[in-house]
């Protein structure tokens, strides 16, 4: 095995790496870069909406902004951020030296990055980037209506990132299935790995639908086909089915892994095992499967689908989701709670995500959705789930695992400032949008009339988005300051449970020098107890 040191330039180290930890970092840094870009677009839009009239951008630019913002946040930030965490921590948590297919893993990353840049390259061509919404509804996305080459680049780039996600998912399943350390049965797997397993399942079976849709759309646009052109016998509804068959599971791809992170963080800072581990596993699987059967709740107003079926299936997801929330609460109750930044974000997640879940049940009811569909109520709901949920989970994970990844702990004071800016910013930005939606303000409007009384709440929302921006700034400063310090973190700074806390921070290239005996889903906890002379306690799962 040749050492990377001989290769010289650090750039080459990163270009040629097949180490899952480095690839995880690459994913994380690239995804966060896209996040900053998507966030900038969000601020531009919020500025534009702060008052009636067009002040900051023209309508076409606004349309391109929400298209690129949505696309970036979902597919170039959210999904790769999941890949970042999974890459770094799945092999560590199962006690392996790397993924099963390390080179394929590197290929996934480079395909994702080049695909993402191709999507963004729309900004360089005449006509600008795609202007069809992140949902790309046909026939608006057909050539006569969306004339910019940016839309074609959007199609090609997204198809590439889709392939990257599918390759990654295969790798995660194979790694969890075949690289587990001796003694680590499936029912001793950390919850984070279970959520990545189910997430991979969703990627495997949902992404092909959107890849197909994109291919058909490109055939329509470039090669004279008419799959979605009604006048030529095509079917616009078919696009919606294919898109949402991917699009709804995608939402859970951006939720389940962060449920997993919460299930890691909360027990550690409650000093108790996860409450109801087996029910949690079952709930994860049920959420995954159900989420494949609810896609047309995005199509209630098309008049083309079964309203009762999709109302009921969407309602049912609330049950396993509720189980998760109650199990987290039961983990906390009776514990010994401390609140460093990761736990703050985890607790904030429980509060904010609950609101998002509840408003999700409201829009899942077909008759109520007749009113709320495509209004700011939906914008509020989706950001409630993604900003108040997924992002809180992402930050919980980053603060929790930063010592493991870099050997340095992020500062607590800036971390707390970040948490409060983010929480208050979320409330101020997005709760007013529920009211705007209830009053009937449609989404994807670059402008709104002054006389409808939507001005004040929009202004408030814009101020809130500034707080969110400040929160991200606090995080970036925190990272920059922390990285300038020398690494000083022990293997297990928090008193962790899963195997990643067994090895040094950061771990060596091959991850482990040794492994503890694995007799429960908390091997590191067991080892710590044994070392303290407390004997074996707190084991779970079958022998």
């Amino acid at each position: 095995m040749s050492a990377s040191a001989g290769l010289g330039a650090p750039l080459l180290v990163w270009l040629t790496t097949t180490d899952h930890k480095r690839i995880g970092i690459l994913y994380g840094v690239a995804a966060f870069g896209f996040f900053l870009l998507g966030g900038l677009l969000a601020l531009v839009m919020r500025l534009e909406l702060s008052a009636p009239g067009l002040q900051v951008v023209d309508v076409q630019t606004y349309d391109q902004s929400f298209t690129m913002h949505g696309t970036i946040m979902m597919l170039l930030f959210g999904t790769p951020m999941v890949a970042a965490f999974a890459n770094y921590f799945v092999p560590l948590q199962v006690g392996a030296a790397d993924m099963v297919f390390p080179r394929l893993n590197a290929l996934s990353f480079w395909l994702f990055l080049s695909g993402g840049l191709i999507v963004l390259s729309g900004y360089l061509v005449q006509g600008g980037p795609a202007d069809v919404g992140w949902t790309g509804y046909a026939p608006l996305s057909e050539l006569p209506y969306s004339t910019t080459t940016g839309t074609d680049l959007w199609i090609v780039g997204l198809a590439l990132t889709g392939v990257a996600s599918i390759l990654g998912a295969i790798n995660f399943v194979a790694t969890i299935y075949t690289r587990r350390a001796p003694g680590l049965s499936m029912f001793r797997l950390p919850m984070f790995c279970w959520t990545i397993l189910v997430t991979s399942l969703l990627i495997l079976f949902a992404f092909p639908a959107v890849t197909t849709a994109l291919a058909l759309l490109l055939l329509d646009r470039r090669f004279g086909a008419t799959f979605f052109v009604a006048a030529e016998g095509g079917d616009p509804i078919l696009w919606q089915h294919l898109f949402w068959f991917f699009g709804h599971p995608e939402v859970y791809i951006l939720a389940l892994p962060f449920f997993g992170i919460l299930s890691e963080v909360i027990p550690v800072f409650s000093r108790k095992p996860l409450f109801g581990y087996r029910l949690m596993v079952l709930a994860t699987i049920l959420i995954g499967v159900l989420s494949m059967g609810v896609w047309a709740h995005h199509m209630f107003t098309t008049g083309a689908i079964s309203l009762p079926f999709f109302t009921l299936s969407s309602f049912l997801i609330a049950v396993p989701t509720g189980i998760k929330i109650f199990n987290w609460l039961a983990t906390m109750i009776g514990g010994r709670l401390t609140f460093p930044t990761p736990m703050l974000f985890a607790t904030g997640f429980i509060y904010l995500f609950t609101i998002g879940g509840i408003t999700g049940v409201i829009v899942a009811s077909a008759p109520l959705d007749f009113h709320f569909q495509d209004t700011y109520f939906v914008v509020a709901h989706l950001h409630n789930v993604l900003v108040g949920g997924s992002l809180m989970g992402i930050f919980a994970g980053l603060y929790f695992w930063f010592p493991k990844i870099t050997g340095r702990a992020l500062g607590e004071r800036l971390g707390k400032a970040h948490f409060w800016l983010w929480t208050v910013g979320f409330i101020v930005t997005f709760l007013p949008q529920y009211q705007l939606g209830a009053e009937g303000m449609p989404r994807r409007y670059a402008d709104y009339p002054a006389e409808l009384g939507w001005t004040t709440l929009n202004g408030v929302s814009t101020i809130g988005s500034g707080l969110l921006g400040l929160g991200v700034l606090a995080f970036l400063v925190n990272v920059a300051l922390t990285l300038r310090r020398p690494p000083d973190q022990p293997a297990d700074p928090w008193g962790g449970n899963a195997l990643e806390w067994w090895t040094s921070s950061p771990p060596p290239a091959h991850n482990f020098e040794s492994l503890p005996p694995i007799r429960s889903n908390r091997p590191v906890y067991d080892a710590r107890r044994a070392a303290e002379g407390g004997g074996r306690s707190g084991t779970a799962g079958p022998p």
């Binding site: 209506y145 009762p308 109302t311 009776g334």
Partner: protein, 235 residues
């Protein structure tokens, strides 16, 4: 402070998203259903926020607990069954309520009094009354305005000339998509006279926010008079 946070959330949820009073019979049912959902939502939120706040306040680490390991509880079948079963019952109830309202919004009367054909286009609307030979079309602000009688079922058949649009009147708490190659039919019964602003709710390009329309609901007599005059204008 900690206790105030959840209370604010719950209040924001209940008070923070009120719909304008519905003007149609169908919309009133939707409004009633929404109110029921909000009440249940507030109860659920209170339970979750209450438990979370209880945990934070009661089980927060205090120095005198240092070194004491909490009891390592792994689960409890009874409570796990409870918080599986109770949510199931709740969503069952919500589903029944939704079905009941759907039965009303999806109902089609045997003989609607008024039939209107609607064609959406980039960026405006064409409304025609085929039986009466009246057509109203327009784009931009304030857009075309149609007139309907109150307390009578009005049937609209919706389609599009180009891309997907959506016919949305917030005071009716109702929208339906206009999709090329499809005709979507629905009925409304306006109960309160007045003029209601409608707008497009499905993204359709740069004119998307600039294609409002109006629905004026008047008494049967006024409606007849308007038809008379409109068909005269067009004849």
């Amino acid at each position: 402070m900690r206790r105030a946070v959840p209370a604010t959330f719950a209040l924001a949820l209940v008070a923070g998203a009120c719909v304008a009073p519905a003007a149609t019979a169908e919309g009133r049912q939707i409004e009633a259903l929404y109110t029921a959902f909000l009440v249940i939502a507030a109860l659920v939120a209170l339970v979750v926020f209450g438990l979370a706040t209880f945990a934070i306040v009661r089980y927060r680490f205090v120095p005198r607990a240092a070194g004491i390991e909490p009891r390592q509880v792994h689960g409890n079948n009874l409570v796990e069954v409870i918080w599986t079963a109770v949510p199931l019952l709740i969503v069952g109830g919500l589903f029944a309520g939704s079905l009941a309202v759907l039965a009303r919004t999806e109902a089609r009367s045997a003989e609607p009094v008024v039939e209107i054909q609607v064609e959406a286009f980039r960026w405006g609307w064409t409304f025609s009354y085929p039986d009466e030979g009246v057509q109203v079309s327009g784009f931009g602000n304030p857009g075309p305005e149609i007139v309907v009688p109150i307390d009578r079922p009005v049937r609209l058949s919706l389609t599009s000339a180009d891309v997907a649009h959506s016919w949305f009147v917030p005071r009716f708490l109702f929208k339906r998509d206009a999709i090329p190659g499809r005709t979507n039919t629905f009925e409304i019964t306006v109960e309160e006279p007045g003029t209601y602003r409608g707008q497009c709710a499905e993204f359709c390009g740069i004119g998307h926010s600039q294609m409002p329309f109006g629905v004026r609901a008047v008494s049967e007599d006024e409606y007849r008079a308007w038809l008379e005059q409109a068909s005269g204008d067009q004849g």
